[in-house]
Assembly symmetry: D2
Homo-oligomer: 334 residues x 4
Amino acid sequence: MKCDFHQHTVFSDGSVWPDIRVKEALMDGLDAISLTEHLEYQPHKADIPHPDRNRSFEIALKEAKDHDLLIVKGSEITRRMPPGHNNAIFISDANKLLVDDSVAVFREAKKQNAFIFWNHPNWTNQRKDGIATLTDMHRMLIKEKLLDGIEVVNDKTYSDEALRIALDNNLTIMGTSDIHGLIDWEFGVPKGGHRPITLVFSKEKTEASIQEALFNRRTVVFYKNLLIGRNEYLIPLIEQSIKIKTAKYTGNTQVLSVDIENSTNAEFSLLNKTVYTFHNSGELVTVKPGEIVNILIKTKERLPAITLLFEVISAINEPGKHPQITLRSAVTTN
Amino acid sequence: MKCDFHQHTVFSDGSVWPDIRVKEALMDGLDAISLTEHLEYQPHKADIPHPDRNRSFEIALKEAKDHDLLIVKGSEITRRMPPGHNNAIFISDANKLLVDDSVAVFREAKKQNAFIFWNHPNWTNQRKDGIATLTDMHRMLIKEKLLDGIEVVNDKTYSDEALRIALDNNLTIMGTSDIHGLIDWEFGVPKGGHRPITLVFSKEKTEASIQEALFNRRTVVFYKNLLIGRNEYLIPLIEQSIKIKTAKYTGNTQVLSVDIENSTNAEFSLLNKTVYTFHNSGELVTVKPGEIVNILIKTKERLPAITLLFEVISAINEPGKHPQITLRSAVTTN
Amino acid sequence: MKCDFHQHTVFSDGSVWPDIRVKEALMDGLDAISLTEHLEYQPHKADIPHPDRNRSFEIALKEAKDHDLLIVKGSEITRRMPPGHNNAIFISDANKLLVDDSVAVFREAKKQNAFIFWNHPNWTNQRKDGIATLTDMHRMLIKEKLLDGIEVVNDKTYSDEALRIALDNNLTIMGTSDIHGLIDWEFGVPKGGHRPITLVFSKEKTEASIQEALFNRRTVVFYKNLLIGRNEYLIPLIEQSIKIKTAKYTGNTQVLSVDIENSTNAEFSLLNKTVYTFHNSGELVTVKPGEIVNILIKTKERLPAITLLFEVISAINEPGKHPQITLRSAVTTN
Amino acid sequence: MKCDFHQHTVFSDGSVWPDIRVKEALMDGLDAISLTEHLEYQPHKADIPHPDRNRSFEIALKEAKDHDLLIVKGSEITRRMPPGHNNAIFISDANKLLVDDSVAVFREAKKQNAFIFWNHPNWTNQRKDGIATLTDMHRMLIKEKLLDGIEVVNDKTYSDEALRIALDNNLTIMGTSDIHGLIDWEFGVPKGGHRPITLVFSKEKTEASIQEALFNRRTVVFYKNLLIGRNEYLIPLIEQSIKIKTAKYTGNTQVLSVDIENSTNAEFSLLNKTVYTFHNSGELVTVKPGEIVNILIKTKERLPAITLLFEVISAINEPGKHPQITLRSAVTTN
């Protein structure tokens, strides 16, 4: 499930009516979105003095009704640091979150069974060094199960330190666009760019199923061609994305020709970790979206089957670390 | 100097008249080429029974006379393994190389002051496993100073093992197209591909200067976006190619904004090796040809100058190893 | 001056906040825009119950304050046919246009010195056959000088019949986007499309000067690569856009080589109307945006100067008719 | 059948071995080619002193043997004007055409049952004004049935006057590349260009059938997106190329929405010649290769079927004239 759970419209400080957010999501092939208006920050209030904080959700829901797109009700709890900004999604009533106390609002969201994540912990407006750092309040929120996830990617930023926090504290790894203007402009979509999204490994395309997967940390973030997540979801994802299509020996040689197919929209950068060297490239192999790349492998003898090991440097499983994938295939004899 | 010293025309087993090779070189912006017709393999002999083996060179020389392109006289000594195929370039008369004995021909070439390199030591026609391996005869040729270089790249192949041989035996690292058909077709030039070339670090654009540089091992090979060479030539080349254009702090933060400019036609893949993490990407940074990439660096305090370290994974200095570059810049205060 | 005087935002039935309209205009290089909210049609009223109909203008004005973009105050008078929808621009107060009577509102706009034009007279919601037809009320409005212009182009439609009405009744020829969603999506801008605009031939880049030019009918509409206007503005415009760059005889022949340069963003389709035939093409010549096209002209004798006549079939001066341009140049002797 | 019957290799004054011509033809999807070496002009004779003038053909035939490409034996009779250069194709032995007398060589070719056409009658080397003009000798050749066709297109030139000669003298309209270098370079194929070809309307893909079609004038030339030919072959060709895909009324209006599909690689420029005007464009409609273009037609009443008439200005049936096509379709009611 491709999800973007942090977005704004004219109902807080965004520049579009909710219908545009629905159309953008459909164009980008998303499965679920949430319009998370700021509860406490309402710069258009003079023009849009609506008393109901669920309004943005309702308009989007109506716009999406004939499409296969889930609209999740959510709000952005907008406070100074700590606890900074946090999104509560899968809530039932945004109006009830208009609570002064910074902790009480988390409890109210949880009463509504919300999934709550910490937004842009690396935001330079609240952390001048851009380095996500856990505060005592965040430790308390985590301990009391009031905080479930953390944005490792927000808009055009990625935080190694937020990833560290997610791994150390068993938080869900989140990536969102936090869009205020237009997705196409902000992320250069017409020129091949894409918004940051959270891939959620849910069993079904339902709100309940996505929520369950989020609570159980089953996510991978996709940001500027980079996949970020825990090995247990990241490695199977990549091994599903890149596959050996054919493997056969060329002529009467011991050089094995392997076609590797990338069935996704992401470009993968792979470093060879087998003992064999390649006949047509160095150890770095790049597989562009939708492309089939041919690798010639000097196996020294004719093997009945091939096992390739690659370090995927366009993926991150820990700060500064990359997952290793295994591709296996029988060898065709011609 | 961009050089391609292994090419064929109708005067051995190629498919074009020499003028096409000159035009291709001009289109590709090369500085020097050699048309190295096979001395012993002449499949078009029935149609082209020319007695003079310098003919191809002469036609090319005439075609190039109004252009800034050096045509180097050369021939391919075409034998079984060992010693396999070898190119002798900067010769004075190809006809005199029509010598039966496989070693005597090297001596004759050397008498003409040739620079000699071993072609495609990984060729599967002569090595079924594609693994370049030094034979006793090659050891002798090297010892007697009859062999100066080795193709680490030939056509669409790269050999880690040939690179090992070059480094262990102090041979010049060579890369050539070995073109028989059309450069555009073989290397997909209109779609952004390029032929393999040898970058020769000569003092001047003269034959003598290029020859001197080749004898002194001053080369880097450029193949499918990969730079292959010895650190002493490779690292300065990359540090000239990629430069810090500007470095300044954003707003009142400790996040340093650095613009890195790639002034070349190669795409560089860089891995961050500083202690600082990046605010807008993981450790992998890709800089496309001619592109300026912005990196936001979390330096924790405001630095007066910045030193960036990158492992260049799109370059090879030893089999399976990559050079590390250092980019330095003062920091502008705004 | 590139102008788009018919646009909507969330303040009537559009989907964006006014700042997006300003950004779109800047991206498209426009000189002046007007946000012409419907006075009588306010579907977002429940959410945006603003009493001031100038609000959209004010927000845009603030957004544009550091840019060289004129924001013209305007409103769409939204009535059944007749008189249908009409835009009043260069008004001083939109609120005063909230007048019930369909004619009285025109008088009020005129009291404010408005330029008024009839919107989409070909709109199939109001004319099932799509054929713009003058009603008695329109004749009266024209006669009483309450109607100044007519949209010959609206959104993705063009009307030959509206052009006829404009010419027969001395109305200003207008073309507008009538945008409600996003310009990029509606007109495929990233794929090379463009919004319809009105080119206004004003003396200065001021509101007063543009208004004067509109009152005096000095416009050409640019729509899907098509230029539509009166000969007196259309022909000089095209003759400024397409010019002979060089003209010289080839070798010792009587074949004149002429380079024609298109300095605009429009593609021109030209039919040769001279007595000479071309050596390298038939009579149809297409000059793409920014392109230089070479024409070889068989002049039979060596001429000291050349005069080329072309029918510009990508321009319209009357329904089903095209202007003829004249390109002149001295001939260089080499 | 896509044919190019005028090409050169190293066996006269071209720059490639015949195998390249075969590969180029396969890449361009041609059905038949002829390598028409100059009989009398042999600049590479010193290097290629072959006595057999069929040699080029034989090498190409061997190269093409596993492909579905017909190689037609031909030669270029290379004389001063008159009669200038003429190609004789479908000959049995080129050697026998080495005849001094300019008319006798035509008779010998005809004895071999050749199809003979006049090459580049507009060539400025032989006609300084570039204007194809029939000489007495040509009139005699035509009268004696020694000349069958004429190049209206050669390389990068088109001749209105040659088309006039073809029509007035019942000659076959021919278009050829007359390639000496590389097709890709000469005609910018990687950037979307194409070589000039002759479309031959033969019953089968055999030499005999193509020859029969040529003798019976069943050709259309395709040159820089321009189709040139007699109405009887040109109009059906275009009507096969451009078709109405769907036609239905929009909503409850009298505006008919028609999708026109261009199934070819040519771009068509069409001028509306029906009495109806269009709702979304002027009278000029451009249909790019492979594109579907939507036209909205104001039919005033709901028609059960639609007949569209277009003047195809990207096609030529006589000097300065364009064919008119008719597209018919039933109208779907929704």
